[in-house]
């Protein structure tokens, strides 16, 4: 009896352990040669629908067929992630910190430094060998655009495209308010003046420039950067490797936020604070509650694209137009420019934890070959990194690229950037929410910078 009890308890204790081994043994016996998974932020009939279609209908069948021709039974799966960019980054970090994750991952370029320093991702040639340099695509991707997926001299993935930022506006609301079209403001005051006219004409929140932590990187890129560049400054001093902490330009940028959201209520501040604020801003633009929205070209390509969830009833091409974001005064923008823009870059990386590194590289290269990239251009024209692929099929997209790329700058590809970006979002939030004055919020931001990079790398004017 006693022995029985002892044996039983030992067995109970070991049960989970044996189960583990059993599961491991099962995994090893896969029938096909190999299985690869791609993960993207995208859902069929939801966010980034076009990319899902491209991968499911173009990439996967074509790649599996090519493999079959070579006598290899390769299956490719797509994991559709429906959450926010921030949630996807969190998922990646957690997966990779325990050595898991999909083989090919859609990646935002500015995540790379943080993941590299954490030791989660590795250069392409380390994962798949020097064969990666034999790929023909390198000849048509300029050095500068390879860096989208690079850090510290190494290349970690292939960039798919880049983008530019501008003001989208509703032509129907402008006409109703008696504002002449096409509209192109020359200064901040022009923008504010237009917003006031629209407000008088009954548009509830005429001007929306992103602020706050809830929107994450969309606040930094579409909001803070666009205003700060207009005030003549970048967040980072590339020559001296320092971060701007307390400056007149930052103060001016925050002051215009205060003017828009607090003093004149030209924008809807609750959208900037709500957890689902970005979607709400798309909805409000669709419903004609917002007349001017600063966004990237993803907004045009995907958010208000024909047939999408947020397309205005009268149709994107009939009621949506765009204007360049002006500097505070003509010539007062970053680098003495009249207009400003900033570009991000997205692409795909190979997870170093993959069991099939060479095959994963083949798939990654295949996705970025001419044929597949052209197939995507047919579904959704965009600015790609390949010189041999024009932005075609959408004249608006073409003109945005043509006019704005010359003004556009980029984020510093540095590991501290992500944290500093959050600090900047918080700074705008504190002003919009009236927790602090622009001056106080800027001082608190500079303190955050001290903590992140050390006060010797923070510029105080």
């Amino acid at each position: 009896m006693r022995k029985c009890v002892a044996v039983l308890s030992v067995l109970l204790l070991l049960a989970p352990v044996t189960a583990l081994f059993a599961a491991g043994a099962g995994e090893a016996a896969e029938p096909e040669d190999a299985r690869l998974n791609i993960i993207i932020r995208g859902v069929e009939d939801g966010v980034n629908h076009n990319m899902v279609v491209w991968i499911l209908e173009d990439v996967i069948p074509a790649f599996e067929e090519r493999m079959a021709e070579q006598g290899r039974d390769v299956r490719v799966g797509l994991i559709q992630f429906g959450g926010s960019d921030e949630a996807l980054e969190q998922q990646y970090a957690l997966d990779m910190s325990v050595g898991e994750g999909s083989d090919i991952m859609a990646f935002d370029g500015f995540w790379i430094p943080d993941f590299v320093e954490a030791g989660y991702i590795e250069p392409l040639d380390q994962i798949a060998g020097n064969a990666v340099w034999d790929w023909g695509g390198w000849d048509v991707i300029p050095e500068g655009l390879r860096e989208i997926m690079g850090f510290d001299g190494e290349i970690y993935g292939l960039g798919s495209g880049t983008d530019v930022r501008k003001i989208y506006y509703r032509t129907d609301l402008f006409e109703e308010a008696g504002i002449s079209l096409p509209w192109q403001p020359e200064s901040w005051e022009d923008v504010l003046q237009t917003a006031r006219e629209l407000q008088r004409a009954g548009v509830p929140s005429p001007l929306q420039i992103n602020a706050g932590t809830a929107m994450g990187e969309a606040t930094t890129m579409q909001g803070y950067f666009m205003v700060l560049l207009g005030a003549g400054e970048h967040m980072y001093d590339f020559e001296n490797n320092m971060w701007y902490g307390e400056t007149q330009a930052i103060h001016d940028a925050l002051e215009v936020y205060r003017q828009i959201y607090v003093e004149e209520e030209l924008g809807n501040r609750s959208i900037q604070l709500a957890a689902a604020g970005r979607d709400q801003s798309f909805e409000a633009f669709r419903e004609g509650e917002i007349a001017m929205l600063v966004e990237g070209d993803w907004f045009w390509r995907s958010v208000v694209a024909p047939g999408s969830e947020w397309e205005p009833a009268a149709g994107r091409d009939n009621v949506v137009d765009w204007a360049k974001m002006p500097a505070q005064q003509p010539g007062a923008g970053f680098n003495g420019q009249d207009f400003v823009s900033i570009s991000g870059g997205t692409g795909f990386i190979i997870n170093p934890n993959t069991s099939h590194p060479e095959l994963a590289w083949e798939l990654l290269a295949f996705m970025h070959d001419y044929d597949m990239q052209m197939a995507f251009q047919d579904i959704q024209p965009r600015i790609t990194v390949r010189e041999d692929i024009p932005v075609q099929g959408d004249p608006v997209m073409s003109s945005m690229a043509e006019e704005l790329l010359q003004y556009s700058t980029v984020r510093p590809q540095l590991p501290e950037y992500a944290q500093i970006s959050v600090a900047a979002q918080r700074m705008t939030e504190r002003v919009v929410n009236e927790e602090m004055t622009p001056q106080e919020a800027m001082e608190a931001y500079a303190e955050d910078l001290d903590e992140i990079v050390g006060s010797d790398r923070v510029i105080r004017e």
Partner: protein, 305 residues
Amino acid sequence: MDDLTKRGNHILSVRAGVALLVPAFVFIGLFLFFPFIWVFLISFTNRTLLGAAAQDPEFVGLGNYLRLFDFSRWMRSGEFGHSLYLTVIFVIGSLIGQVTLGLAIAFAFNRRRGKLREIIYTLVTLAWILPETAIGFTWTAFLDGRRGTLNAILGAFGIEGVEWLLEFPLLSITVFNIWRGTAFSMLLFSAALGNIRPSYLETADVAGAGPWQRFRDIMFPLISPQFVTALVLVTLWTFNVFTPFLLTGGGPAFGSDIIAIHTYRVAFQFFEFGRGSAIAVIVMTINLILAASYLFGLKRKEVAT
């Protein structure tokens, strides 16, 4: 145990007893004690999930703790003090709401049967046992400013709606938490009230006591142990509750950044494991104090009876 063994009327031997306890101890050690030590150790490092400190965390001594108690920034939005302040309001509000409401329902239906009682008890209990995620979505839909059910109902009476989760985030999650947790107090108090001997109350009636006197002088003293239990347990649970995250995500602008959400955001949204662990250690300490006071209270009562 020893006494029993000596007397020889035991069911199991000491060895068998120990053998039966070993799995429990191993599991507690593995899943409770080990993570606790782990978190405690990490709280003295600058470990992160991303960036260089993910690979080579450095020992920073009490740095994380000193940073939490840096009083020059203590009450700014998104900081520890601010979160603690919100938590105290949230806990006190929830506590008063849950205990009063639970007691009121239990009192109203004391010694009564009938459909109304069954309906109310079922609904209140249902609110307690339904899955959190489902509840989270329902409440978001209920409180939504643009198309929420609550504003629709108010609109029917000609009252203009409010963006509840944005204008009154802390109030919203407090009301939500009261709704969610009242069942516990209600069940506890109705059981306690049911155990009071009818003769006590009858005697009071004969002596000419009014309802309030009956409650104050007879019922309340008899249920006071349960009252203390409710106070401590509800405080403990509310202090640790994370479900409001599903309603507000801790926002807007950190307006509902209660301590459980704060810990999560620091550790898993801003990826600062070191500082997140330091917060967790402080939270665990507060929990231990609360739990100890509860157990101490129980002990004293046992001695008294």
